[in-house]
Amino acid sequence: MKLYLKIWRQKDASTPGKIVDYTLDGVEGDMSFLEMLDILNEELVSKGEEPVEFDHDCREGICGTCSLQINGEPHGPDRLVTTCQLHMRKFSDGDTIVIEPFRAKAFPVIKDLIVDRSAFDRIQQAGGYISVNTSGNTIDANTIPINKYDADEAMDAATCIGCGACVAACKNASAMLFTSAKVSQFALLPQGQVEATERVQNMVRQMDLEGFGNCTNTGACEVECPKGISLTNIARMNREYLSATLEG
């Protein structure tokens, strides 16, 4: 198929960017979206032009590196997939595809389609852990039974890949789905209880400091999340936050 691509090009963080048009022929349905971009880049390199830079790594939907806004949607039109797992069979011959970086104040553009998501790391550093030494001298893993339902729900929250689609989808560029996924994972497990109060307060504080907006319950994040992280997590974080505040 033949495609008309409108791609955001930006030299670096301090230079203004713009949309550039490209036409690409010979795209097949079995190609992934990123393989389509590989072909475009191969053509650009052969012409001596600089290829379009985009973040990607595992190309199997788990590392959370790829981060494209495709026709206005994070990770494109398909549901429950990252950009690397989006296949060209979702598009038709003659389509125009607009490709931009994730847009958010807290995710500044580094180059072309690459953004800086280190704000996410800093939110995790503020409290996304259990303070246990890694000496291995803990209790036997089966000492505390955990209700299967809770364990499964904790796992569902923990599957967040930190890609930032939730932020890119939100009109307020809120990181509440991301932050709440980690808060929830630990809130649901007995091991997470000890530091629950400080954790939620510290993580939320950092989230605000980074310049992410607030949640207005539109639910766009849940729809666009490639891992289907549920909005329930935000409700749980709000509850945790409220009780933490009341506890002081």
Binding site: D30, P51, D55, L80, G128, T138, A151
Partner: protein, 667 residues
């Protein structure tokens, strides 16, 4: 040759590690504050090591090429992690895990190292649960297990099909805690360009900031390389696009021996290649072999009809199917080790029974499992005389709960519903058992340079068992390295900070700059990917699942020519002093072009078949691997001498005091 001292402690196998920990030197907590350690790579091994070392009090700097430590490729491991907990009461023990690993590795790994791995495996699970890793649980609240290839017990712990992700996020959270305390400085989007040696000791690295292009000097008292494997030398592999051998290869060029480079794991259950545009291959977890049955048609005409789309696999009757693993290996069936399963698939496809349009795929079929689970579920749900549709529905539910995310991934990529029609799979490069040679302390042949996880060669011999990579990465990082590195650093308590303005750093930086200029200065005929793909084809065709003398010799010649061509004619766009993904790729491919040749040289010299290394000249009448313990019971460690062809072989003889060497049989 004294240099290849494995430093295995004396004494009975089960006491070695404890004895060693009691004997080695320690660094007191106050002195740890004056010691710096660089950790390159933040996957399971690197992330775990960085967190633990920082927690002990050392000043740690981590480096990763990804934008966050959480994205290291350990994250993609699906199936699980082994531990000899014996929660299932099925006869598991440290010894059995040790034995299975040595046997699975086809008797090419060290007894001492492997026993230590088995010994600390239980701790890993305790540790991860304490960190909040949400492992799968049974209804009673206890941890659940499943079984993997090459073993007869259920010792694999898992978190859906995302075990690697959860374990990595555990290590990442431990790192975050130390970053928050200021004990780890994380340099993300940084690539190690070279290792710096001062007076023969590893004292730092030259790194490139991948965003600004700036070249930086970083010093430390010791350097840990936890940079993963080199499967991407094949271009197509299940590794991440960025996975590379640069750090290990730079260390090799500076004096670290490279061990058993030809020991590469070709994983049997990957999604087959669909066309020339393919950039990477996707693994389907080995756990699927718990329930999936592997088959091809018995008759060639049926295989052809399926390939041409004239026949559906579901239309083929049981009698017309060849469940070749169950036929050849009745004891282990579909759960034979990976090397055996991969070769068996290749054998059937080479014989003309492949089932996709390229003829390079076999079926992995869940119909029987769906029916079995469906009947069971109907029974426990109190449904009497369920009809076929109900059974299928119930069975699909059970299968979905077990492997749902894998099935979804398959459907997204292949556009077929694996609940209704069998999956198609084919072997792909997945893991490299070879790597930097290390002693029992995980130290390379360069003092102060350590290697952990997939980057070292130590524990898996010639073939790795499923769910053992995660175990080894975390064992090295959490429980081995933090002890052993202290023994070395105890000599450094009075050294003080290592200056970065020495000649050693200056020269190393200059070499890095020169090399980048040289890469940019190619005549500009072909792209980096052009060379990488060419290299990959040579590797896959001549150094892949089956190797022979003639083709290996050809491979050596072709790779060396390709390397020459690359340096003369590669085209790298952009500039050195800015974000430049083409330049990043070029540096990595340049090193693969050297490693590839050494790989072939190693495969050529090893005149035997063992584990993942199958030499066509050395096989039994039934086509099984023919090992030669008399002549090849050693680790081949290669010393850099300029061109890969000049690399010098050093042998570390493998001593088996506790296990009797046998021909591996899974029949």
């Amino acid at each position: 040759m004294g240099i290849l001292d494995s430093k295995i402690p004396s004494g009975p196998l089960a006491d070695k590690w404890t004895k060693h920990k009691n004997d080695i030197n320690l660094v007191n907590p106050a002195n740890k504050r004056n010691i710096d350690i660089i950790v390159v790579g933040t996957g399971l091994a690197g992330g775990a090591a960085a967190a633990t070392l920082a927690e002990l009090g050392y000043n740690v700097k981590t480096f990763c090429y990804q934008d966050s430590p959480r994205r290291a490729h350990s994250i993609a491991a699906q199936g699980g992690i082994n531990a000899a907990k014996n929660y299932q009461g099925d006869g598991d023990s440290n010894y059995r895990l040790f034995y299975d690993t040595i046997k699975g590795g086809d008797y090419r790994s060290r007894e001492g190292n492997v026993y230590r791995l088995a010994e600390v495996s239980g701790n890993i699970i305790d540790q991860c649960v304490a960190q909040g890793v949400p492992f799968a649980r049974e209804y009673g609240g206890m941890l659940d297990n499943r079984s993997f290839g090459g073993v007869l017990v259920s010792r694999t712990f898992y978190a859906k099909g995302q075990t690697g992700q959860q374990l990595l996020l555990g290590a990442y959270s431990a790192m975050n805690r130390q970053i928050n305390r200021g004990k780890i400085q994380a340099y993300n989007r940084h690539e190690m360009m070279d290792l710096v040696l001062v007076d023969g000791k590893a004292r730092g690295i030259i790194a490139r900031d991948l965003v600004t292009g700036e070249i930086e000097r970083h010093s430390a008292h010791a350097v840990v390389l936890a940079t993963g494997g080199y499967g991407n030398v094949f271009f197509l592999s299940t590794n991440a696009m960025g996975s590379n051998v640069m750090a290990a290869w730079r260390a090799h060029r500076k004096g670290a021996f490279f061990a058993n480079p030809c020991f590469t794991q070709i994983h049997p259950t990957c999604i087959p290649v669909s066309g020339d545009h393919q950039s990477k291959l996707t693994l389907m977890s080995e756990s699927l072999r718990n329930d999936g049955r592997i088959w091809v048609p018995k008759k060639k005409e049926d295989a052809i009809a399926i390939r041409e789309g004239k026949l559906k696999p579901t239309e083929l009757s049981e009698e017309d199917r060849d469940y070749y693993l169950e036929r050849r290996y009745p004891a282990f069936g579909n759960l034979v080790p990976r090397d055996v399963a991969s070769r068996a698939a290749k054998e059937r496809c080479d014989a003309g029974f492949g089932v996709n349009k390229t003829g390079e795929a076999v079926f992995l079929d869940f119909a029987a499992a769906i029916e079995r689970y469906g009947k069971e579920k109907a029974l426990t749900s109190g449904i009497k005389n369920p009809d076929k549709t109900t059974i299928t529905e119930l069975g699909e539910e059970v299968v979905k709960a077990k492997y749902g995310n894998l099935f979804q991934m398959y459907e997204k990529i292949v556009d077929q519903n694996p609940y209704k029609t069998p999956m198609m799979i084919y072997p792909a490069v997945h893991y490299t058992m070879g790597g930097l040679w290390v002693d029992y302390n995980l130290q390379t042949t360069i003092p102060g340079c350590y290697a952990a996880g997939e980057a070292n060669f130590s524990d898996h011999g010639a073939n790795r068992l499923g769910a053992s990579a995660l175990m080894q990465g975390l064992a090295d990082g959490y429980f081995v390295l933090p002890y052993t590195i202290g023994d070395y650093l105890s000599d450094d308590i009075r050294t003080g900070a290592i200056p970065t303005d020495s000649t050693a750093f200056e020269e190393a930086e200059q070499q890095v700059r020169d090399r980048m200029e040289k890469l940019m200065g190619g005549s500009g005929i072909h792209s980096v990917d052009y060379y990488h793909k060419k290299l990959g084809k040579i590797m896959w065709n001549k150094c892949g699942m089956a190797r022979n003398e003639k083709e290996l010799k050809e491979a050596i010649k072709e790779i060396s020519e390709l390397r020459k061509d690359f340096w003369e004619n590669v085209k790298v766009t952009g500039t050195v002093d800015s974000k430049n993904q083409e330049l990043e790729k070029a540096g990595r491919v340049a090193d693969f072009l050297e490693l590839g040749e050494l790989f072939a040289k190693d495969a050529l010299h090893r005149n035997e078949s063992c584990g993942g290394h199958f030499r066509e000249e050395y096989q039994t009448e039934e086509g099984e691997a023919l090992r030669d313990d008399e002549n090849f019971k050693y680790v081949a460690a290669w010393e850099y001498k300029g061109e890969p062809k000049d690399a010098e072989l050093h042998k570390e003889d493998l001593v088996y005091e506790n296990i009797e060497l046998k021909t591996r049989s899974y029949k």
